[in-house]
Symmetry: C2
Subunit: 262 residues, 2 copies
Amino acid sequence: MNKVGYIQFKPILGDQNANIMQIEKLLGKALGSELIVFPELANSGYNFASRNDAVMYSEEISKSIFVEFLVSSAKKYNTNIVCGVNERVGEKLFNTTVLVGPNGYIGKYQKIHLFLNEKDIFETGSVGLPVFDIGFCKTSMLICFDYLFPEVWRIVGMNGADIVCHPSNLITTNAQKCVPAQAFMNKMFVITANRYGTESDITFSGNSFITNPDAIIIDKASPDSDAVYIIDIDIAEARNKMVTSRNHVFNDRKPDVYLGLT
Amino acid sequence: MNKVGYIQFKPILGDQNANIMQIEKLLGKALGSELIVFPELANSGYNFASRNDAVMYSEEISKSIFVEFLVSSAKKYNTNIVCGVNERVGEKLFNTTVLVGPNGYIGKYQKIHLFLNEKDIFETGSVGLPVFDIGFCKTSMLICFDYLFPEVWRIVGMNGADIVCHPSNLITTNAQKCVPAQAFMNKMFVITANRYGTESDITFSGNSFITNPDAIIIDKASPDSDAVYIIDIDIAEARNKMVTSRNHVFNDRKPDVYLGLT
């Protein structure tokens, strides 16, 4: 068994120092976890008044105080951390998640499917859909609205992800309608770490949840308060891709019939 | 608004005449429907003792007494009917559904994803994933275990299906974990028409259901008795593919990132 979980909190718009302090405080309640997932854009908040504001609250990963803090935290607590970061690359911004572990920075994912006004701020992700081997499991990252596109779940599943980390700034509970099916159809665990709180006209929905490969939702977080939740999971459940003695979720696919899907 | 629905019943293994009589009786309770969906393999039953038995209980569509009966019923009741048929094509068998309407035979679909021992009896479907225009809507067909493969929902959705007819011989309620997400992610209606009853070691799970494009399940059938259910739906709900003012379930896809999915 392995201990994984999420931390739900309320990032403060444009106040990275406050967010670092809040994360530091909550991480102290997640002792023993091997993988802990934070919400989307946890360094910056979400509802920028302008693109200029978004730029001001962004960092380049290689020079990021926030990512450096995450790396030192992962070392301190001997855990892996996935966390949303407002990332600047030259003139461009990306809605990014980083994965860091006890040995340092591991990799990143950049959101592919941008929601509403994010289209005015961020570029479409440019690093594909990486899967990372972190020892006790293989993991990948999807961000918030990516959940609506079955293609990305399928790709990370077929590329070996046992656990999909799903940092989010959700405003509805529609993800709960979609994520369990994707967990079941690809036989993976999914950790959906949402934020809560209000930023001007947007209220985030909290209710972070973990879904197992049998589509069962473990729903322990409230809609509007901090939550630290760690659970024991058996990675073997995500490595058995048989749904009957003769049916395999990937090998039973019929790619010849799907031609033209992409 | 348009009236659509399903008829859940218990086909008798190897007794096509009994099945025709049962369907005729139940159709009389579905007056006014414009599209009515029956279970998988409704002419033959499911749990054949041998492939020879399956062959014995099959028909060629062009010479099928069963399909002829469906066509005459569709004319009599001025409706469209989707129904499962054990289809013989030369030496081969297919787990097929036919679509017939007031003007006669319209088309067929052959199951692509075969479940358990079906692999010893049937061929993989050879007619792709057709979508048919029946006037008040466009419709396509998937059969039972096909539900586990998000690719096929996506393909029929992108090809214009407003309603997916889903004749089934389900033995679990796992479809309820997967179908609503597919209805939501592609913004379609789904009519899952299941059978009930036991054939030697297999008990079918009934609980036929209709899912709307918002992932809401309308679950009115029992696990173990006949059910005739007709509902008014607004096809426009399946033609609005926007999930926000700036997000479209198909146009927001990023095919360049999905390369290699098939």
